[in-house]
Each structure stands twice: as C-alpha cells, then as structure tokens.
Symmetry: C2
Subunit: 271 residues, 2 copies
C-alpha cells in the first residue's frame, strides 16, 4: 500500500449511441491517464441510456462484448486500474447492472453486480423500475490492489448503510460508486450520503456520475465527488462533462481511526 494516489473520475455524457459512448469513454480514460491518474473511474451505465428498455438491447456478455473489450484493452495500454463504471451485462437470460474492474495487465480482477435495484415512485413524478429488465447481484465487492483496497458498488447501493459497512469490514479503503442520481434525489441526498458513508466508515468515498444531459430520458445529477474520511469534499464536479481528480492519502484513514476509533467502538454484541 502506498501513500498518495491520484485518481480520475470521468463524468462523461452518455448518448443513445453505444459506439459514441465507448469512444468517448476511451478518450476520457486516456485524458485521465495522461494527467497522472493511476485509478480511473467511469459512471453507471456509461455505454447505454439509463432506461429499462435499453438495458437488454445494449447488454454485453463477458468477455466478448465490445465495451468490455475496450475497457480491458485500455487498462492494459494505459497501465491503470480501471473501474469500468457499469454496463448492462447479459448472462443466459438475465441482465445485470455490472461494474467490471481491470488491472494494468488488462486482467478482470473483480466485478460488481448492482445488489439493490432502483424501483421507486418519487414525489417529482419520476418512476423507475430497474427490476423490469434487470436482475440483482448477490455479493459485496472488494478488490485488493497494490495501490489500495477498493469497495465497488453501484448508485442505489449507497442508500444502504449496511453495504458500505460490510465493504469496510472486508478491508475497503476507498468506496467507489458509479452512479446516476437524478434531479430529485441528487439535490436532496447525493452529498450527504457520500459524506456520511465516508465519516461513518472512515474511508474515502467516490461518486462517479454521468454528466447532466437534458436530452436523455433520465437526467442525471452530475456532481461527481470524492470525500475524505473526515467528511471533507476533496474534489467535486458541477453538472457538466469533465474529469475530476483527487490525491488520496491512505494514511489519513489510520490517523482518523486513531483519533476517533469508531470501528473499534462498534457494539457487535448488540447488532
């Protein structure tokens, strides 16, 4: 484990053309790498419009899908760790919302299938039923790398404090959430969730959103951010397409945990 670690979060605009999305993701990964990022992170459903009908249509199988091949190839060429946001993944008759994670050798070192599906009827009138076309994953994902131990989950998964706690107890130092909150839940809850998960677990949290696109069927909030274990926002995007960077000092985790030993103070006899 090293000390300072530069990461890049690509808040890309997702269109309804898969090829355009793949090309744009690759460009942004290249830019983030050129700027010195050793871990690069893409948003949720970066190759696909966020709509239940689109998911099966845009879905790919591992390892042959074209998006998956781009991720593998780019991670290897650029010698980076790549958290490939998420894409619709087909396996048999099922489709998952899946994040594929690659190492600098181009090896797939982990994948997370979104555990909690987003089935809601928001006060703004927005309804969404991921379960209409998606199946849920069934495990927490923590990937150990020589740079850091990464917890990876997707968007609505952050709503459940149990999962962030579980990833932390499995050793995750950075909790990474490719995500696409919307214009109702984003302004209301996005920031507090990333801050409080970081503070409760004394880890870094990363929210990697797609850029806000008013032409899309689902308008995502943007505001990709990185929060440190004390709850400070150390990098934050606005709503536009851009890359944000953070320098992560993993030793800060140990310092905070020494000062305020929350994890030691848990009463596991009671809950």
């Amino acid at each position: 484990m090293e000390g300072r670690l530069k990461i890049g979060i690509c808040q890309m605009t997702v269109t309804n053309q898969k090829e355009v999305n793949i090309a744009r993701a690759r460009e942004m990964i290249e830019e983030a790498t050129a700027a010195g990022s050793r871990i690069v992170i893409l948003p949720e459903m970066f190759n696909c419009p966020y709509s239940t009908n689109a998911f099966p249509e845009f879905a790919e199988q591992y390892p042959t899908g074209e998006t998956i091949r781009m991720l593998k190839k780019t991670a290897k060429e650029k010698e980076i760790y790549l958290v490939g946001g998420s894409i619709p993944e087909k396996e048999g008759e099922q489709v998952f919302n899946t994040s594929f994670i690659f190492n600098p050798l181009g090896e797939m070192i982990g994948k997370h299938r979104k555990i909690h599906l987003f089935d809601v009827d928001l006060p703004s009138g927005l309804s969404f039923r991921e379960s209409k076309t998606l199946s849920p994953g069934d495990q927490a994902t923590v990937v150990n790398t020589p740079l850091a131990s990464l917890g990876v989950a997707i968007c609505y998964d952050i709503r459940f404090p149990e999962l962030s706690r579980l990833m932390t107890l499995k050793g995750a130092q950075i909790l990474i959430f490719p995500a696409a909150f919307n214009m109702t839940t984003g302004p209301a809850h996005w920031e507090m969730l990333f801050k409080t998960r970081a503070v409760d677990n004394q880890v870094f949290t990363v929210g990697a959103s797609s850029a806000r696109n008013y032409n899309a069927p689902y308008v995502s909030y943007g505001n990709s951010m990185v929060v440190d274990p004390w709850g400070n926002i150390t990098a934050r995007a606005d709503e536009q397409e851009r890359i944000i960077y953070a320098e992560i000092d993993l030793e800060y985790i140990a310092k905070i945990r020494r000062e305020l030993p929350l994890l030691e103070h848990r009463r596991v006899d009671l809950y």
Copy 2:
C-alpha cells in the same frame, strides 16, 4: 397514532450547580409545554458539567434522585411525555449516562443508558474518556407511546448507523438523541449525521444539545435540530439557550417509504 405532533427541544445552558440546572430545566419544560409541546426533550447531561470527574459526583439513583423526581413530577403536572435528556445515574458501584423517559402520568416508561462511550483524541487536541468514570449500557431503547414510537439514544450513539437501524426496525418513528457534540465534531459532522440517519431510515431525527457555554470545561456545539424523513431540517437552533419546536407529521413517514421503499429493499440475505 395521531397525525401532527408538536415537540419542544430545550437547548438549555448547563452550569456547574446542580440546583440551578434542575430549576432551569423545569422552567424550560414549563415554557415548552405552555407553547403546546406534547413531547419535551432535554439535552445530554443537563444537570451536570460534561466532565468525567463530575459524573460520579452528580450521579443519582432511581427513583430517589432529585433530578429524577423533578422530571417525574413535571411530566405528571404538565401531562407531557418527557425525554429527560440524560444525567449520570448510579447503580451499585457503576455510573451510567442515562436518559429517563416519563409519560403524562409521571410513570417512567423507559430509560436508555448510553451504549457507546465517548473515548476519543480529536485532532483539535480535545481528549475525552467517558469510560474513566462511566459504564456502558447494553440495549437499544424504543418506547411506544400513544403519540409515536420513540427511539432514544445518546450523543455518540448516533455515530453508529447500526443502532439507528436497529431502533427503526423495532418500530421507532422518531429517533431522539440528547447530545453534546463539541466545537470540533459539531461543525464537521452534527448536521450530516442527523440528516443521513433520517434519510436512511425514513424517520424523524431529533438532536437535543445543550447551549454553547464558553465557561464550561467542554464547549458544546448547540444547533439542536429536527430532521424529517426526506432529510429536510424542519427546526434548528443556533448556539444560544432557547427552545425550538417542530410539528411532526407521522404520516409523512409512510409517504416517503411508499415512494422510496428503502426498508423493503434491504438485502437481509447479504448483511
């Protein structure tokens, strides 16, 4: 269970004289009752300076202690539910940080002994060791009343998302935390914790702080607040001695849980 419910939170100044504190608490409870509050809430260690040496000295036994008798008597006279902040409670050789809860008949219907003791060395230089003189409680506290089901825990207890979840699963609709965050943790974390516990659990949260007193050995943050299940702050004090009021609509809990069914979506097979 009824619909709208007025509660009053007494952000009182705590002095080093027990009699003054008891008298002041009684005055504030009377004022809150006169203003229509049906549940009145006091802050943590409202009869006692927040210092480990003071705890044993100010401690009282149930039911004979003078603070406890005042709470019982006032709840009955004013016909209110009274969450008696907390006081040092002696039982045998042990001292606890305990919240006594009374109904309008003056009956003690619940008590919470702080589960998580505040033993920290903060970056500001502030060190505190509650465990030097206090013993921890060993259960979550939910008190059912005809007005609402109240979860009661104390200050540092809010740091642990597991406890708020447990109280919620036991049916609590309002999570009440008598508390005394300080000038390091208060500005950094107080608001986000009350907001996120409310949003994660889709309940109301109440933080009842003592007023900021720069003459005290431990300077509390103040900022008593009430947060609704969508994360909106519906009442908030500044740092001064004052009472804040909130009108709580318990039906809002059901509405939010219908729209965003977080509790149903928990994956209890995984955590």
